[in-house]
């Protein structure tokens, strides 16, 4: 049923229909509304049987999920930003143990400086953890991806992270068609674990593995990721057949046919970019968009295929690797077809800075003019940067630079 509701609510309702048996809650913006809503559903009996556990940290949230999953329960939790980093040891561990935990990541920047707003730094920090990472473009897709996530996780014995932009999606109220319980039940069979803590058939899970087998274990986990590249599209197709919605899959191409310039991006910014592309198309520019839905495993072949006709590829991404550049861009470069399109990275939207249609059109314009550098930062206030650099050069004790920048801005740039 189509409803106008908050993204977090849509996700909570959908997760509940996936019948999780253990849900851990630890508050951190902007995911908190999700677990609040699930908690209420457990408390009033709508979601049963389910253990809702108010843990003392994200580290515990993932750890409880690990225990629950190893004991054969369908386990879910949600986090963001610092929370993800606080649990990162357990995040790796869940994947290493092959436990199909599903987690929502309400993407948020990572401090310091502390910042609660959206970017993708948190998801990028765990890209090598062994989780499947799916990025939602809309709240509809965010909700739908959770159903697929449980199916993928449990089929492959690999944990799945559904990434949705913090605030931009989690707090946005828009129309979402909530999936029927019956559809979920037909799509998502009860969890049948590959390994389980069962007193009747005891096993040891989590052995110490030395040099003699560690590489094989890691490689097997890699193969499961490659298996996921096969499974993700078929699960998305099956889902589409049941719901009529094209949620999930590896990639979301938009107007790529004959496109000479392709913007590659992930998450909610794709909507804004599509508006910009439509606007440019209206002026006759051959531009298109490639949305990356599945970031891990990275669909190298599919990306290469999608970019086969492009002459210029612009990766717009909400994170970057300090001292290097784009993270998604690096993967895209690896996947770039032999035709060798010109590749540019635009780091944008850090810490919640808005990315507007006008911004995107500007990028396309600069690209068309050949003035878009290989790596650029959207709407970077060069003056602020220059002034802080100058302060640092002038004085050893120039002070904390985040605070300096804020003071500088508050003074209207007069603080030179």
């Amino acid at each position: 049923m189509l409803q106008q509701l908050e993204g977090s609510r849509a996700v909570a309702e959908t997760v509940a229909r996936c019948r999780p048996e253990v849900v851990c809650a630890y508050p951190i913006s902007p995911q908190t509304h999700i677990i609040e809503a699930i908690g209420a559903m457990v408390k009033d009996g709508r979601l049963a049987p389910c253990e809702f556990i108010n843990v003392e940290s994200e580290y515990a949230a993932m750890s409880v999920s690990i225990g629950a999953s190893a004991a054969g329960a369908r386990a879910y939790t949600a986090t963001a930003s610092q929370g993800l980093l606080f649990m990162i040891e357990a995040v790796y561990n869940a994947a290493g143990l092959g436990l199909p935990v599903v987690m929502t990541l309400a993407n948020r920047a990572i401090g310091a400086p502390i910042n609660i707003w959206n970017d993708h730094s948190d998801a990028m920090a765990v890209r090598d953890a062994g989780w499947i990472q799916l990025f939602a473009e809309t709240n509809q897709e965010a909700a739908d991806l959770h159903v697929q996530a449980f199916r993928l996780a449990e089929t492959l014995s690999v944990p799945v992270m559904v990434c949705m932009d913090g605030f931009i999606l989690t707090h946005a109220v828009e129309a979402v068609d909530l999936i029927d319980q019956a559809v979920v039940d037909s799509f998502l069979p009860p969890y049948e674990p590959r390994q389980v803590l069962d007193p009747d058939d005891p096993v040891s899970i989590g052995a110490m593995v030395g040099p003699e087998a560690f590489e094989e274990v890691r490689y097997l986990a890699h193969l499961r990721q490659l298996d996921a590249l096969e499974l993700i599209p078929s699960v998305a197709e099956e889902f589409a057949a049941l719901t009529g919605r094209a949620s999930g899959g590896l990639l979301h191409p938009y107007r790529l046919d004959d496109a000479e310039t392709v913007i590659v991006a992930m998450g909610s910014v794709l909507g804004t970019i599509k508006d910009a592309v439509d606007a440019r198309r209206a002026t006759g520019e051959r531009v298109g968009v490639l949305g990356v839905t599945t970031f891990r495993p990275f669909p190298v072949a599919a990306v290469a295929d999608a970019l086969a006709g492009a002459r210029r590829v612009i990766v717009v991404e909400k994170a970057f690797s300090l001292g290097m550049g784009g993270v998604l861009a690096t993967d895209v470069a690896t996947a770039s077809p032999a035709s060798g399109p010109e590749l540019a990275t635009v780091v944008a939207g850090l810490g919640g800075r808005p990315i507007t249609r006008r911004d995107v059109e500007g990028v396309l314009g600069r690209s068309a003019q050949g003035t878009l550098p290989r790596l650029s930062f959207l709407n970077l206030d060069e003056d602020v940067v220059a002034r802080e650099r100058a302060r640092m050069a002038a004085s050893r004790r120039s002070g904390p630079f985040a605070e300096n920048v804020l003071r500088d801005l508050a003074a209207g740039g007069a603080n030179r």
Binding site: E56, P199, P202
Partner: protein
């Protein structure tokens, strides 16, 4: 001539078994049918107190639960020596995740069992003192306050033995470790630091908290069994001497645990709902020196002219325990 009933059984309840006792009154360890939850072939050091403590506790838990048990293990010696691929020494359902998260993982297992209607399956979390009082403390406290249905057992060998004997918050004052060397004016670990986790556990108002040692098997097993009669968070703190870390003879493991209790340096008691309900009184009281001397980690207290001042301070700790818990032998 007065008839007197016989209550005296040669070794009474001090030894592991006793052919003169009924089966019910013997220890689990006396039975050939014991689970051997931790089986032979593990790679613990010779005379490992933790290996002993773990088998004692888990076999007792297996009996108490009729075999419906899952154990969750923190990283540490116990985990490393029991499960080097491709071998495991465990005969029970067992999970290892990380160093600091065992209490939370145990919570997860318990939650899963509850959600699945498997209330018959009980969960034990276990860790060394590092995994309990230090890195796992937050998770443990969380598990306690939520009253999750987990019995958490700390095998306390008073240091980070797995990583090469470093100081933990359970290391006693003056003890030499690799990070509290026996040098300088105040050699070894300093006075006035460390956590008394059993008392912290009691402050959580959980239904059952107890301490035990590997030197009193009957007491340890009874406490595990008692713990299993409660639902909710329970805590058992077992002193397990470490020949390597303590610099003791491998044959002295049980003896040192006994001396720890008999000197009052390690108080053996139990508490329900935050109130001490029982103590194991000292039987043959000894001074702390008798306990400390066989351990090389305290050798600097006795070398040359020795440090009687420090020994005296350690004795004060033992005396305070005796006073606090009423451990004095009945004769005193």
């Amino acid at each position: 001539m007065t008839e007197t009933r016989v209550h005296f059984y040669q070794v009474g309840s001090f030894a592991v078994g006793n052919r003169l006792l009924s089966d019910a009154d013997r220890t689990v360890q006396a039975s050939r049918e014991r689970t051997n939850s931790l089986d032979a072939g593990h790679r613990a050091c010779q005379g490992c107190g933790e290996a002993l403590g773990a088998r004692y506790a888990l076999d007792a838990a297996m009996r108490a639960t009729g075999g419906r048990l899952v154990a969750v293990n923190a990283t540490g010696c116990l985990e490393v020596f029991s499960t080097p691929f491709p071998e495991t020494s465990w005969r029970i359902a067992w999970l290892h995740s990380l160093f600091g998260n065992a209490p939370a993982v145990a919570t997860g297992v318990a939650a899963a069992m509850r959600a699945k209607g498997r209330d018959d399956v009980r969960v034990v979390g276990q860790a060394g003192d590092g995994g309990t009082v230090d890195i796992g403390f937050g998770a443990l406290s969380g598990m306690f306050e939520r009253h999750d249905d987990v019995l958490f057992i700390c095998y306390d060998n008073e240091g980070y033995m797995n990583t090469g004997v470093q100081r933990s918050a359970a290391t006693p004052p003056t003890a030499r470790t690799a990070t509290s060397e026996a040098v300088g004016a105040d050699p070894g670990n300093v006075f006035g630091q460390g956590k008394d986790l059993p008392r912290i556990a009691m402050a959580h108002d959980i239904p059952y908290v107890a301490t035990a040692t590997v030197a009193d098997l009957h007491d340890l097993e009874r406490k595990v069994e008692r713990a299993m009669t409660f639902r909710g968070a329970r805590y058992l703190h077992v002193l397990v001497p470490c020949p390597l870390g303590w610099g003791a003879a491998s044959a002295d493991t049980v003896r040192l645990a006994r001396l720890a209790a008999e000197s009052g340096f390690f108080p053996v008691f139990e508490a329900e709902h935050g109130v001490v309900t029982g103590v194991r009184r000292i039987r043959r009281r000894v001074g702390v020196e008798e306990y400390l001397r066989p351990q090389r980690r305290f050798a600097h207290l006795f070398a040359g002219e020795g440090r009687p001042d420090l020994v005296a301070r350690l004795q004060l700790i033992a005396d305070a325990n005796v006073e606090r818990y009423g451990l004095a032998p009945e004769e005193e």
